[in-house]
Symmetry: C2
Subunit: 349 residues, 2 copies
């Protein structure tokens, strides 16, 4: 067995606290990674607090992982000890369904194996990246350029790919007008990517205080979404809108902002389903859709694109000892724009 230590929740009510556990021995295609940084995703909080009703404890959360390869299984070809790598939201999939075969492992028809909180193919409970190390099959490990700040890279493994993938899937590019709803961990990455793809990018936000930051991050324009007059001015003008907000909100005014045949893509998952008037879809043949993370090859493409364009997340680096406080601040959206845990802190105090 591989000895590991990190911070875990022991039950739904407990704060995260230090925890020792073991991971499997390396199989021939496995990579053992010593973790340097792990991003703090809002879904870590949902999972730990059992807000999706399927929590299994003890739970070490974390799926925005950057570290260095410690050792590799005998059949691993892409990586060697010392390489800088990343691990994201899934660490396995069936490999043989039509989604897996077409490089869309995130839509594996058997169900991909989440990086933490589920049973893997060996029957082990997966444990995430708020820890000193992790093991994942080579196929679910990504090469990271040393040119980038590794703390800023960590959130690319979830917040990054979750926004990059739909922007690519719906072929956002120059001559497109693209909207980003919400300016948080996901939203700020959507802004950076849509801008990098050459689109005219409009940030929708409820908060005037975010105007300046949105422009710094790549917005060509900012619309205050609670102003009905400002919203009406945007009618039928967008080629694509990506909605990164998980809190319940009215999406009807945004649908009206889409051109004929354009798509509204939800990447946040509100607990309460939005009620939308299907007339907004019919009368302009618009689509309402959604997307989750991205495929493994696509995740590597994104990381390479980020190295080329010097794109990373805006992060606030914290020691693991601040994690429970950070959770509370994430819930209050009090972070610009992602907490990232420096795992060097694990062995302190």
């Amino acid at each position: 067995m591989t000895q590991s230590h990190g911070w875990a929740a022991q039950n739904v009510a407990a704060p995260l606290a230090p925890f020792r556990f073991s991971r499997r021995d390396l199989h021939e295609l496995d990579v053992l990674v010593d973790i340097q940084f792990c991003g703090v995703c809002h879904s870590d909080i949902h999972a730990v607090r059992n807000e999706w009703g399927n929590a299994v404890y003890p739970m070490v959360p974390g799926h925005e992982i950057v570290g260095r390869v410690k050792s590799v299984g005998s059949a691993v070809r892409r990586f060697k000890a010392g390489d800088l790598v990343g691990v994201g939201v899934i660490v396995d999939s069936c490999g043989s369904c039509s989604s897996c075969k077409s490089g869309e492992e995130q839509y594996c028809e058997v169900g991909g194996t989440l990086t933490y909180g589920v049973r893997d193919r060996y029957g082990d409970l997966t444990q995430g990246g708020y820890a000193n190390n992790i093991i994942a099959p080579e196929h679910f490990v990504h090469a990271i350029s040393p040119k980038l700040n590794p703390a800023g890279v960590a959130p690319l493994l979830c917040a990054g790919i979750t926004t990059y993938s739909p922007l690519r899937h719906w072929q956002v590019g120059p001559n497109n007008k693209v909207g980003v709803v919400g300016l948080g961990g996901l939203g700020h990455m959507a802004l950076k990517f849509a801008h990098a793809f050459g689109a005219h990018v409009v940030q929708f936000t409820t908060s005037e205080s975010k105007i300046e930051d949105a422009k710094r991050l790549g917005a060509d324009d900012v619309v205050i979404s609670k102003d009905p007059t400002a919203m009406k001015k945007q009618a039928a003008s967008f080629d694509f809108i990506i909605d990164t907000v998980s809190a319940p909100h009215d999406i009807n005014p945004y649908l009206e902002a889409l051109k004929r045949d354009a798509t509204y893509c939800q990447v946040g998952l509100p607990d309460k389903p939005p009620v939308i008037d299907p007339g907004h879809l019919l009368f302009k043949r618009r689509s309402w859709s959604g997307s989750i993370i991205g495929g493994m090859a696509e995740t590597q493409q994104m990381l390479d694109f980020c190295a080329e364009k010097n794109i990373v997340a805006d992060v606030e680096v914290i020691p693991i000892q601040k994690i429970n406080e950070a959770f509370d601040r994430v819930v209050k959206a009090d972070v610009k724009y992602r907490f990232v845990i420096d795992m060097a802190s694990l062995d302190r105090g």
Copy 2:
């Protein structure tokens, strides 16, 4: 002025009754059509009963019109007196917006002119096809093959194009599994078209009594949608589903029947918005969309396709004197599958 007579509602509470009115003199691009048949669309009832809240009276409904050209304006080139032609849901559009320029007049950004119940560009109240004649610009008139039964052609102008257009837009063809929700005026046309396009077609219905008819109309399979086990068997297997039902109904189980990246297209417009769980979209990148009628060139393509494949609607021909009774039967879904008024009856009784 052109003298016309038909059956109109004089107010929201009145049954349809005989009515004399006038239409404009022919402009140079206008076609005057002597009406032979007019289909009875459920939206005629919504409009006459002011169920959309925008009724203007007196109202002569009807937008599934087949007849013979009586005379043409000086600049008309495509038609001459005696030609068999059709007129559908719109009789004008701006002609210069991007939708009109790309042959999608139904999505005209200024707003297409409905065949009845609205003010046209001359300020006249449009009056529909429950009448002896109608005038429409050449661009909104379609050639009809004399090979087809003209009574069965009439519903193609609305029910036909409303289902043909999305099936073409989403490129339904051989090797596709396609679902049709609802078996009424629209549903039975969707079945015929999807079958003619070579798809494997599955009819969803709440009613076991419709199984035999669905198979006769082109269904390869029929699923009773109120049977949760039968619905679950269809999980993630459809390339496209077209929903023709206007009554409120739960679409979540149908969304789960779609493959990854597949589209659910609504062509019926329920008064009460369906509440859908966005998870059904996100976790397979499915889309929920909608569509209205079709463009003018596409309507002609459909009519030509129908002539080639010998496709018409299944109709029950009635005299105009039975129209109020027919309305009540349409509301009870007691028609297989479309009432069509024989306008020769206008001058009787």
